[in-house]
Every structure is written in structure tokens, then in C-alpha cells.
Amino acid sequence: MPGKLARKSEFVPLVLSLALAAALSAASGVFWTSANLNSLQASIAPTAIMAFGMMLCLICGYFDLSIGSIMLLAGLLSGKFNDWGLSTPAIVLFVLLAGLAVGCLNGFLVAVLGINALIATIGVQYIGYGFAMTLWDRNMQHRKFPGDFIAMGDGQFLGMYYMTWVMLAILVGLGFFLKYTLSGRRLYYVGGNREASRLIGFNDRRIVFLCYAATGLLAALAGVLAVARIQSPTQYMGGGVHMTCMIACVIGGGSFAGGKGSALGAALGVTFMSLLTNMFNLLEMNTQLQNVVVGLTLIAVIVVDGYLNLKKMRAMGMI
């Protein structure tokens, strides 16, 4: 039984997270304070929601590097809609629709036009950042959202933020979808062997398109929740979050080759990455140094993933 547990792909991030949490509670006296745990929740929940989308793409064998811009766009659009005097449900609805639209654009570029996923989504990241920043003005950060909007980010239920509950709900829903429904299993077939999945009659393009659309929607949801938590839009939202999500998903059992991964793995991977950032903050490490560490971690993760894929392909006699 323990052997079976250890062979699960979720085992690695779980152990890493537990080890890091143990090290942090030993090294720092403030780790278990409610302020730190709250900030940890506020960092894990939106990132995990985005990582779920990234995981959907990774399972199909694609990636989405534009989620950082979608998050920023969601945050700044919320501010803009608030300026126009829209009510909270309307703000959320329109922002989610905007995220869905960007997701559909990604899906259209990658699945319909067949553009390389990396370049297409980097392009959309670049365009999205430019588009979001045209909405930005300096006074935006001083204007407050209405109370019920802020309650979405600040309110707690049973000691946890609403956004954490939203994240857990998506986790359960997505976990069930990926494991037990036919549509969910299709993602693994498409990612595992695209040609074969096409031959047995799957509409692989539609599946990939829908994955990108869902990713855009989830990233916008994360953006709304995050902006409600920090109470005013900032221009720094979503910077580097695509890298964090990608690393988290691969640590959590996903693979750049596709066909692997789970929702729980993504959540655990994000937990690990958030603990890592938390460690940097508790140790008062330079933010830019964090980028160096994240970049090097990404390279390490890519190399390990590539090595495992190479070994698998050698074992199957494909090369």
C-alpha cells in the first residue's frame, strides 16, 4: 500500500509541500500566525484556479502563457467597470466573459489556425498586457470597489476565504470531471496520442479549443478574486504567474509531452510554489532573486520532464 501511494504522481508535490511547511515552521516563528496563513491562502487560491486551466492545456499537450495577462486584464477591467458604476454581479459577469473571449482567441489561434502554442500565447500575453495597460490610469488604485465586491475577496467562511472554497469546489469538480467522465478522459487520449485519438473519431481541435476557453475563464475568475482581495486594481497583477503555474503543474504530475496530470496535482504543485514564495518573503529575499530561482526551477523541471519522456520513448522503442 505505501508503495502504491508513492507511485502516484501527486506524491512528489505533497512530500515537497509538507517538507517545506515543516522547515518553515521550524525556521520562522511567524509561519503559523493567522496573518501569514491568510496571505498564503490568498496566494494559493487564485494561482491554483489558474493552474487548473494550465493543467487542462498540459493534459492535451499544450500550454497557455497568456494567463498572466488575462489575470491583469480581469483586474483592470473590474476597476474600469466599477468606474462606470456597474453593480458587482455585472462586473463579475462581464469580466468572466472577457476572460472567456481571450481564452477563445487563444483556442482559435492554436486549435483552429494551428499556430505553435508557445508563440501564439506569448503573442497574446504581449497583446493582452498592452491592451490591459491602455485601461490603466494612475488614479485607478485610489478608487475603491463597492462593499459587496470586496466581501468576495475578504469574506471568510469557517476560517477560510471564499476564494479558497471556490478553489476547493473547482478542484473537486475538475477532479471528478477528469477522472470519471468520458469527456474528461478524452483530454488524456488527445494528449497521449493525438493521431490515434483522431483516428478513433475524437474532434481533437474542439477539445483543445474548449480547454483554452476554460483556461481563459478560470484566469479571469482568479483575477476577479485576487483584485477583490487586494481591494483595488494594480498594474503588477499576474506578472510571472504563468511560469509559476507551469512549474506547479509539472511538479504536480503534468508533462510537457501531454497525457498526464490531475487537478489535485496542480493544486499541490501550487501549494509548493506558494510556500516557496512565502519562504522568500519570510526570509526577506529580493523579489528579483525570486525570479532567478523560479527561472532556474523551470529549467530544472523541464530537464527532468524531458529526461523522463526520453527514457519512456526509448523504452517503447520510438527512438
Binding site: Y129, T134, I302
Partner: protein, 324 residues
């Protein structure tokens, strides 16, 4: 015909006149004429000279990139390594009191080590070069910030940056260096055995290995050259600004990919030309200059440039992509 079969294999052998690969020339000419007719101060010697001067620095980030894209690899770290050149040059001049003629080669050598390591990882584990270089880009960019913030806006002494202002025949020497580099690579890519093999590798990687080419070695070398030349360009750019700055090389990779692809290179490998890449970089800078002269907000410029990148890649997929 035979001398060029490696370059545009599919099209030349059909015996058609290939307008597509010179698209960049028409685009640049059209944009140039448009700006010259509509903007008053555009068609002056000093304005065009200053655009070329800017292009001449960024072009060095595009040289290695072009060599790699011919082999079907994409190096997204060129922008960060461009910045690294400036950051390291500052480090050597300020902290180690080295003269500029030692600082630039040292910065290039250190960047070359990073490029070499990235190339080694890509070839040894058969990794997607874009993914690896995104990691390199992020790590190096973080390092640049840390390093440049420590300088706190210190100016490089005049004696150290003075060489950048040297002019030959009334033209800044970096522009001539750019033209010479482009011309040399263009000639060698077309004629020399060593550089022509890049096209073979990009066209069919497995076959070149069967024929006994050490394709992986070639790729690693090109990654190294790409990193070193990017750092060279960044160091020169820093000399022009007279102090290391974090915006040097920021988002340059987007401009360079766009330049190479509208310059006729294909992300599927096997195509590309140094001269046309240079025209591509010129086109991108001309576009930015033109948009700025029309008072277009820099974020809107970003939207437009990103859209052009996606459009160019789409055309590349339609023209060169394998049918699925």
C-alpha cells in the same frame, strides 16, 4: 540554381519567381514611403541615421537567433542576454575597474557560457528550445535587475563610452558593423559548407545525422554565438545610453522573432536569411518610430506589434507548415 538549393528548396526547384521571401523588402519600402510622405521630419538624414543607429544594436541579438531559427530552434533568451551584456559590462567597469575593451569581451564570454549551457540542455535531452530559453530569460532578467539596481544610475565615464560615437564617412561605426556582419553571414550562409549545413539540419534533422553531420554540436555552437552576440549588442547599447539600464533588451525577443519571421525565416526550420532578418529588424524599428511620430501610446504599439507577430507566424504556418 544548384548553389542555392539548400536555401529555399521547395520553391526554387519549381522554377517560380519567389516574391514571398522578398515580402519584407516591399513591406519596408512601403512603410518607408508612407512615412516619408506623411510625416514632415521623417525623411531627413539625421532621423534615418538615428533609426539605423538603434537598429544596429538590436540587430546583434537577431544574428544568433536567425542562425538558430534556420535550424528550427527558437532562442527566447536573446532579450535578457542583451540586457545581461549591459549589466555585466557595468559590473566590470564599476566594481572591477576594468577598461571597456576588457569588460565587453568578458561580458560576452560569460553570456556565451550561459548560451552554451542552454544549448547543451536542449540537445542532450531533446528539449523544446523555447521552453528552456524562457527559463533562461526569466533567470537572467532577474539577475539583470538585481545587478543594475545596485549601480543606482551610475554613469559610465566618458573615456569608456567614447568609442561608440566614432563615425566613418559620416556614419556611426555600429551601423557599418551591422551591414558588414549581415553581408558576411549572408555570403557564408549561401556559399560556405559550414553554414549551409544549418539549412540541411533545419530541413531534415535525422537525415543530416545519417549523413554524418554532428548536428547537435552545430546547434550548441549556434546557441553560444547567439548569447555572445546578444551580450555584445547590449553592451554597445549600454555605452550609447552611458549607463546600464533595466529597459535594455526588455521585450526585445518579441521584436526579434517578428523580424526574423517577416524576414522569411520559418519556425519549422530550413529557411531564413541574415540580410532579410536585418531588414526585418529595420522594419520593426521603422514601425515603432512611425507609430511614435503619430503619437500612438506605447501600450497600443505593443498590441500592434504582437498582432503582427501572430499574423506573421500564421502566414508561416499556412505557407511552410506541414499539413495536418
Amino acid at each position: 540554381m544548384t548553389a542555392n538549393t539548400g536555401r529555399t528548396l521547395a520553391v526554387r526547384e519549381k522554377g517560380k519567381i519567389n516574391l514571398g521571401s522578398w515580402l519584407i523588402l516591399f513591406l519596408t519600402a512601403a512603410l518607408f514611403v508612407f512615412l516619408a510622405l506623411t510625416r514632415k521630419n521623417f525623411y531627413t538624414y539625421s532621423n534615418i541615421h538615428s533609426i539605423l543607429y538603434e537598429v544596429s544594436f538590436s540587430f546583434f541579438a537577431a544574428v544568433g537567433f536567425t542562425l538558430l531559427i534556420i535550424m528550427g530552434e527558437l532562442d527566447l533568451s536573446v532579450g535578457s542576454l542583451f540586457g545581461l551584456g549591459g549589466a555585466l559590462m557595468g559590473l566590470f567597469i564599476f566594481n572591477h575597474r576594468l577598461p571597456v575593451e576588457a569588460a565587453i569581451p568578458l561580458a560576452m564570454a560569460l553570456a556565451a557560457v550561459i548560451g552554451f549551457a542552454a544549448g547543451l540542455l536542449v540537445t542532450a535531452f531533446r528539449l523544446n528550445s523555447m521552453m528552456v530559453t524562457i527559463g533562461v530569460m526569466m533567470a537572467v532578467k532577474g539577475y539583470n535587475w538585481i545587478q543594475i539596481q545596485k549601480f543606482g544610475g551610475r554613469q559610465i565615464p566618458r573615456a569608456q563610452w567614447n568609442f561608440i560615437t566614432v563615425e566613418l564617412f559620416g556614419v556611426k561605426w555600429t551601423i557599418l558593423a551591422m551591414l558588414a556582419t549581415a553581408l558576411l553571414f549572408e555570403i557564408f550562409l549561401a556559399g560556405s559548407r559550414h553554414l549551409k549545413q544549418l539549412y540541411y539540419i533545419g530541413d531534415n534533422f535525422s537525415t543530416t545525422i545519417l549523413y554524418g553531420l554532428n548536428a547537435n554540436l552545430v546547434k550548441v555552437l549556434c546557441f553560444t554565438v547567439s548569447a555572445a552576440l546578444s551580450a555584445f549588442g547590449g553592451a554597445l547599447m549600454t555605452c550609447r545610453l552611458k549607463h546600464p539600464h533595466v529597459t535594455v533588451g526588455a521585450n526585445l525577443e518579441i521584436g526579434v522573432i517578428t523580424a526574423a519571421v517577416i524576414g522569411g525565416a520559418s519556425i519549422f526550420g530550413g529557411r531564413g536569411s541574415m540580410f532579410r532578418t536585418m531588414l526585418g529588424v529595420f522594419f520593426v524599428f521603422l514601425l515603432q518610430n512611425g507609430m511614435t511620430s503619430y503619437d500612438i501610446n506605447s501600450y497600443v504599439q505593443q498590441i500592434i506589434l504582437g498582432s503582427i507577430l501572430i499574423l506573421a507566424i500564421y502566414l508561416d504556418v499556412r505557407i511552410n507548415g506541414k499539413r495536418t
